[in-house]
Protein backbone atom coordinates (compact mmCIF):
# COMPACT_ATOMS: atom_id res chain seq x y z
CA UNK A 1 0.00 0.00 0.00
CA UNK A 2 1.36 3.39 -1.07
CA UNK A 3 1.24 6.12 1.54
CA UNK A 4 0.98 9.51 -0.14
CA UNK A 5 2.01 12.86 1.27
CA UNK A 6 0.49 13.12 4.77
CA UNK A 7 -1.98 15.88 5.70
CA UNK A 8 -0.55 17.33 8.87
CA UNK A 9 -2.37 19.13 11.69
CA UNK A 10 -0.31 20.74 14.41
CA UNK A 11 -1.87 22.36 17.44
CA UNK A 12 -0.30 25.42 19.00
CA UNK A 13 0.52 23.08 21.89
CA UNK A 14 3.53 21.33 20.37
CA UNK A 15 2.92 18.26 22.47
CA UNK A 16 -0.07 16.99 20.47
CA UNK A 17 0.30 15.81 16.88
CA UNK A 18 -2.25 14.38 14.49
CA UNK A 19 -1.57 13.03 11.00
CA UNK A 20 -3.84 11.49 8.40
CA UNK A 21 -2.25 9.00 6.00
CA UNK A 22 -4.18 7.56 3.09
CA UNK A 23 -3.32 4.33 1.34
CA UNK A 24 -5.20 2.11 -1.05
CA UNK A 25 -8.65 1.64 0.59
CA UNK A 26 -7.08 2.30 4.00
CA UNK A 27 -6.92 5.44 6.13
CA UNK A 28 -4.55 5.79 9.05
CA UNK A 29 -4.86 8.38 11.83
CA UNK A 30 -1.55 8.73 13.65
CA UNK A 31 -1.59 10.58 16.96
CA UNK A 32 1.31 11.65 19.12
CA UNK A 33 2.08 13.52 22.33
CA UNK A 34 -0.50 14.43 24.97
CA UNK A 35 -4.12 13.97 23.92
CA UNK A 36 -6.80 15.68 26.02
CA UNK A 37 -10.05 17.66 25.70
CA UNK A 38 -8.25 20.43 23.78
CA UNK A 39 -7.55 17.92 21.00
CA UNK A 40 -11.21 17.11 20.44
CA UNK A 41 -11.89 19.52 17.56
CA UNK A 42 -8.91 18.35 15.42
CA UNK A 43 -9.71 14.73 16.30
CA UNK A 44 -13.29 15.13 15.09
CA UNK A 45 -12.05 16.79 11.91
CA UNK A 46 -9.51 14.12 11.10
CA UNK A 47 -12.11 11.40 11.67
CA UNK A 48 -14.55 12.99 9.24
CA UNK A 49 -11.78 13.50 6.74
CA UNK A 50 -10.63 9.88 7.09
CA UNK A 51 -14.10 8.40 6.55
CA UNK A 52 -15.70 11.23 4.66
CA UNK A 53 -14.89 11.43 0.96
CA UNK A 54 -14.78 7.85 -0.24
CA UNK A 55 -14.98 5.53 2.68
CA UNK A 56 -11.98 3.21 3.16
CA UNK A 57 -12.29 -0.51 3.87
CA UNK A 58 -10.02 -0.18 6.88
CA UNK A 59 -9.34 2.54 9.42
CA UNK A 60 -6.23 2.36 11.57
CA UNK A 61 -5.84 4.56 14.65
CA UNK A 62 -2.22 4.50 15.68
CA UNK A 63 -1.74 5.56 19.30
CA UNK A 64 1.78 4.17 19.75
CA UNK A 65 3.33 7.68 19.96
CA UNK A 66 0.73 9.03 22.41
CA UNK A 67 2.41 9.87 25.72
CA UNK A 68 -0.72 10.81 27.66
CA UNK A 69 -4.46 10.16 27.21
CA UNK A 70 -7.53 10.49 29.43
CA UNK A 71 -11.27 9.83 29.07
CA UNK A 72 -11.47 12.44 26.30
CA UNK A 73 -9.62 9.99 24.08
CA UNK A 74 -11.90 7.15 25.16
CA UNK A 75 -14.96 9.23 24.30
CA UNK A 76 -13.46 9.98 20.90
CA UNK A 77 -12.54 6.32 20.31
CA UNK A 78 -16.15 5.36 21.05
CA UNK A 79 -17.19 7.80 18.34
CA UNK A 80 -14.52 6.44 15.98
CA UNK A 81 -15.84 2.92 16.48
CA UNK A 82 -19.45 4.04 15.86
CA UNK A 83 -18.60 5.94 12.70
CA UNK A 84 -16.28 3.26 11.34
CA UNK A 85 -19.05 0.68 11.84
CA UNK A 86 -21.55 2.98 10.12
CA UNK A 87 -19.15 3.47 7.19
CA UNK A 88 -18.43 -0.26 6.96
CA UNK A 89 -14.72 0.24 7.68
CA UNK A 90 -12.75 -2.29 9.73
CA UNK A 91 -11.17 -0.55 12.73
CA UNK A 92 -7.79 -1.32 14.25
CA UNK A 93 -6.45 0.62 17.23
CA UNK A 94 -2.74 0.13 17.87
CA UNK A 95 -1.11 0.95 21.19
CA UNK A 96 2.29 0.57 22.77
CA UNK A 97 2.97 -0.26 26.43
CA UNK A 98 2.52 2.92 28.49
CA UNK A 99 -0.14 5.51 29.26
CA UNK A 100 -2.73 4.55 26.63
CA UNK A 101 -2.57 0.84 27.24
CA UNK A 102 -2.80 1.45 31.00
CA UNK A 103 -5.89 3.60 30.49
CA UNK A 104 -7.57 0.97 28.34
CA UNK A 105 -6.73 -1.57 31.03
CA UNK A 106 -8.16 0.56 33.85
CA UNK A 107 -11.42 1.02 31.99
CA UNK A 108 -11.67 -2.42 30.43
CA UNK A 109 -12.33 -0.81 27.05
CA UNK A 110 -9.67 -2.46 24.89
CA UNK A 111 -11.86 -5.39 23.77
CA UNK A 112 -14.69 -3.10 22.57
CA UNK A 113 -12.57 -1.05 20.22
CA UNK A 114 -11.06 -3.22 17.52
CA UNK A 115 -12.92 -5.72 15.36
Amino acid sequence: MALPQPDRFNLSDAAFTCELRRGDRVAEIVLGGEVDIAARPPLDNVLHEALGTDSPDALVVDLTAVTFADSSTLHWLTEVKREADAAGARLTVTTAPGAVRDLLGITGMKPHLSD
Binding site: D13, E34, D36, I37, D70, S71, H75, I106, T107
Partner: protein, 134 residues
Protein backbone atom coordinates in the same frame (compact mmCIF):
# COMPACT_ATOMS: atom_id res chain seq x y z
CA UNK B 1 2.30 16.55 54.85
CA UNK B 2 2.77 19.88 56.64
CA UNK B 3 6.08 21.64 55.96
CA UNK B 4 6.12 22.43 52.22
CA UNK B 5 3.39 25.00 51.53
CA UNK B 6 0.82 24.05 48.86
CA UNK B 7 1.26 25.21 45.26
CA UNK B 8 -1.80 26.62 43.55
CA UNK B 9 -3.01 28.01 40.23
CA UNK B 10 -6.23 29.53 38.96
CA UNK B 11 -7.36 29.66 35.34
CA UNK B 12 -10.49 29.93 33.24
CA UNK B 13 -12.10 26.51 32.79
CA UNK B 14 -11.32 26.08 29.08
CA UNK B 15 -9.97 23.11 27.09
CA UNK B 16 -6.62 24.78 26.45
CA UNK B 17 -5.87 25.28 30.16
CA UNK B 18 -6.22 21.56 30.91
CA UNK B 19 -2.78 20.62 29.57
CA UNK B 20 -1.01 23.55 31.16
CA UNK B 21 -2.53 22.88 34.60
CA UNK B 22 -2.02 19.12 34.30
CA UNK B 23 1.69 19.62 33.56
CA UNK B 24 2.00 22.12 36.44
CA UNK B 25 0.40 19.65 38.88
CA UNK B 26 2.57 16.79 37.67
CA UNK B 27 5.76 18.83 38.04
CA UNK B 28 4.74 19.99 41.54
CA UNK B 29 3.91 16.42 42.59
CA UNK B 30 7.30 15.23 41.29
CA UNK B 31 9.03 17.96 43.31
CA UNK B 32 7.13 16.65 46.33
CA UNK B 33 8.65 13.22 45.83
CA UNK B 34 5.94 11.35 43.91
CA UNK B 35 7.24 9.19 41.05
CA UNK B 36 6.70 6.19 38.80
CA UNK B 37 3.25 4.78 38.32
CA UNK B 38 1.75 6.93 41.10
CA UNK B 39 2.90 10.08 39.28
CA UNK B 40 1.34 8.82 36.01
CA UNK B 41 -1.88 8.14 37.87
CA UNK B 42 -1.89 11.58 39.46
CA UNK B 43 -1.48 13.14 36.02
CA UNK B 44 -4.47 11.14 34.74
CA UNK B 45 -6.66 11.94 37.74
CA UNK B 46 -5.91 15.68 37.55
CA UNK B 47 -6.72 15.67 33.85
CA UNK B 48 -10.10 14.03 34.53
CA UNK B 49 -11.01 16.48 37.27
CA UNK B 50 -9.99 19.49 35.15
CA UNK B 51 -11.89 18.14 32.13
CA UNK B 52 -15.02 17.75 34.26
CA UNK B 53 -14.76 21.38 35.37
CA UNK B 54 -14.41 22.42 31.71
CA UNK B 55 -17.31 20.29 30.48
CA UNK B 56 -19.80 20.27 33.32
CA UNK B 57 -19.35 23.13 35.78
CA UNK B 58 -20.52 26.13 33.77
CA UNK B 59 -23.30 26.79 31.25
CA UNK B 60 -22.23 25.82 27.75
CA UNK B 61 -22.99 29.16 26.19
CA UNK B 62 -21.68 31.56 28.81
CA UNK B 63 -18.15 32.77 29.52
CA UNK B 64 -15.99 30.13 31.27
CA UNK B 65 -15.83 30.34 35.06
CA UNK B 66 -12.70 29.73 37.11
CA UNK B 67 -11.03 26.46 38.02
CA UNK B 68 -8.54 26.24 40.88
CA UNK B 69 -5.80 23.65 41.27
CA UNK B 70 -3.85 22.96 44.44
CA UNK B 71 -1.04 20.49 45.07
CA UNK B 72 -0.06 19.76 48.68
CA UNK B 73 2.11 17.26 50.53
CA UNK B 74 5.67 16.07 50.58
CA UNK B 75 7.87 12.97 50.87
CA UNK B 76 5.98 11.15 48.18
CA UNK B 77 2.53 11.66 49.72
CA UNK B 78 0.62 14.14 47.60
CA UNK B 79 -2.93 15.47 47.51
CA UNK B 80 -4.28 17.39 44.52
CA UNK B 81 -7.49 19.42 44.70
CA UNK B 82 -9.44 20.75 41.72
CA UNK B 83 -12.34 23.08 42.46
CA UNK B 84 -14.81 25.14 40.50
CA UNK B 85 -17.62 27.58 41.30
CA UNK B 86 -20.13 26.06 38.93
CA UNK B 87 -23.49 24.31 39.23
CA UNK B 88 -22.34 21.42 41.40
CA UNK B 89 -22.97 17.83 40.35
CA UNK B 90 -26.44 17.23 38.97
CA UNK B 91 -28.34 14.88 36.71
CA UNK B 92 -27.84 15.77 33.10
CA UNK B 93 -30.22 13.88 30.83
CA UNK B 94 -28.38 14.79 27.66
CA UNK B 95 -24.98 14.06 29.23
CA UNK B 96 -22.18 14.14 26.69
CA UNK B 97 -20.10 11.60 28.54
CA UNK B 98 -19.90 7.95 29.41
CA UNK B 99 -19.70 8.51 33.16
CA UNK B 100 -16.05 7.50 32.96
CA UNK B 101 -14.16 10.48 34.37
CA UNK B 102 -14.96 10.12 38.07
CA UNK B 103 -14.65 6.35 37.88
CA UNK B 104 -11.16 6.55 36.39
CA UNK B 105 -10.08 9.15 38.92
CA UNK B 106 -11.37 7.11 41.86
CA UNK B 107 -9.83 3.92 40.44
CA UNK B 108 -6.30 5.28 40.24
CA UNK B 109 -6.19 7.41 43.41
CA UNK B 110 -5.49 5.94 46.83
CA UNK B 111 -8.39 8.01 48.08
CA UNK B 112 -10.76 10.51 46.59
CA UNK B 113 -13.03 13.09 48.17
CA UNK B 114 -15.75 14.75 46.14
CA UNK B 115 -17.71 17.65 47.61
CA UNK B 116 -20.53 19.26 45.72
CA UNK B 117 -22.73 22.13 46.89
CA UNK B 118 -25.85 22.81 44.82
CA UNK B 119 -25.36 25.99 42.83
CA UNK B 120 -21.95 26.70 44.39
CA UNK B 121 -19.60 24.27 42.75
CA UNK B 122 -17.66 21.08 43.07
CA UNK B 123 -14.34 20.15 44.64
CA UNK B 124 -12.45 16.95 43.96
CA UNK B 125 -9.43 15.91 46.03
CA UNK B 126 -7.30 12.91 45.16
CA UNK B 127 -4.51 11.39 47.21
CA UNK B 128 -1.49 9.46 45.97
CA UNK B 129 1.29 7.72 47.77
CA UNK B 130 -0.39 8.06 51.14
CA UNK B 131 -2.25 5.38 53.02
CA UNK B 132 -4.38 7.87 54.97
CA UNK B 133 -8.13 7.53 54.53
CA UNK B 134 -10.40 10.50 53.98
Amino acid sequence: MDDTPPSHWSAPATPYEVGRLRRAATAAAAERGLDGRALDHLKLAVSEALTNAVLHAYPENGPPGPVRLEVAGEDGAVRVTVSDRGSGMAVRSGSRGLGLGLGILASVADFCEICTVRGEGMRVSVGFGCQTGC
